[in-house]
Each structure stands twice: as structure tokens, then as C-alpha cells.
């Protein structure tokens, strides 16, 4: 539960590049709560593959345009 995720994301910069989309707007379009978007952005929660695809689809980019997996695995 407390292990930090190795998945990083560019949601924050993609939101700003998409006309300063708010977290609430993104949450509505993905179909989750704003708190979940905040947790994903802050790296506190790794979304499911399906949710990750829905987020990528909102920004019209491939999955690895939003999410990256860090190479620094222990």
C-alpha cells in the first residue's frame, strides 16, 4: 500500500497543453472523481490499464505519451 509507484505521468503538462484543462474537467471526461485525478497526478495511485487508456484518449496521445515506467527498479 505504501510502496511508491514507479509509474510517472505527464498529465499535468498535458492538461495545460490542452487549453488549461482543469482536473475536474479531466475527471468528468475520464469518468472518475477529481480526487482520483489528483492522486494519479501526484503519483500516489496507479490507474488500471483501462483508466490509463481513457486518460490517454482524452489527450489524443498514445499511452506512453502520458505514462512512463521508471528504469530505476530495485
Amino acid at each position: 500500500m505504501v510502496k511508491p509507484t514507479l509509474v510517472t505521468n505527464s498529465i499535468r503538462s498535458l492538461r495545460f497543453a490542452s487549453g488549461e484543462m482543469t482536473q475536474a474537467d479531466l475527471a468528468d471526461r475520464v469518468g472518475v472523481t477529481r480526487q482520483t485525478i489528483i492522486a494519479i497526478e501526484q503519483g500516489k495511485y496507479s490507474p488500471s490499464l483501462e483508466m490509463a487508456f481513457r486518460i490517454a484518449r482524452v489527450f489524443r496521445v498514445p499511452l506512453d505519451g502520458v505514462f512512463r515506467y521508471s528504469d530505476e527498479q530495485g
Partner: protein, 142 residues
Amino acid sequence: MAFLEKSNWVALVVAVPTLLVYVALVVPQVLSKPIAEVSWVQPMIFTIVGLIVANILGNVVAAASNPSEADKKDQRDREIDHFGERVGNWLIIAGSCAALALAMTRADHFWIANAIYFGGLAGALLSSVTKIAAYHGPFQKW
């Protein structure tokens, strides 16, 4: 704040005074008279019913404070909910096992009922604390 987190704060805020009321009503009796003479059934029923009613009222108030969020529950909420319930269930099981052992050794009804009662209450408290902690810290299911 997600509605489920509010709901867990309600459960926590309600359970602690309930526990204190029960302890304040029963423990002085346990210390001053034989167990068979302790009046524990009414305080137990009173605090269980009070806990349920206060939880319902608290959830109604939490929902009324932000109606648009009240019925929203996404995948993260469900995962946190399941995780918290699973952690809390350990104490409920521990309370049930203690009650079983007490029944096998022909202990007084008082001890059997209280093992179940405190196991349930402690499990609910642990479950709420776990969920609130999961909402604030990192939470990874996989």
C-alpha cells in the same frame, strides 16, 4: 474530499464516543460488583443502535453538503474500500475467535458478548483509519 472518505470520517467520529460511552457505563460496574450483576445488555443495545443512527445521520449530512459528489464512486474508491474492509475484518475475526474460545471454556455471557462487541467496533475503527490513510498516502493495488 471524496464522499467515501467523508463517510469514513463520520464512522470514525461516531465510533470513538460510542466506545467511550459504553466503557463509561459498564467498566465502573465491572470493577465494583460481580460480573453476573453487571447491567451490560441495555448499554450495548443503546450504543449499537446509537452508532447506526448517528452513522446514517452523519452520512446524510455529508451527502447534503455536496450532493453532486454523494453518489460518485470510482475504481480507486472501490479499491480503497475493499482494502480497508479486508484489514478491519482481521479484528472482527479475532473478536469472534475470542468469543468462541470463551464459549468453549463456559465463560460468562458478559465476556462472550463483549469479545464480539469490541472485535466488531475495533474492526470498524481500524477499517476507517486504514481507508482514510489510503486516501492521503500512496495507494497502489498492484
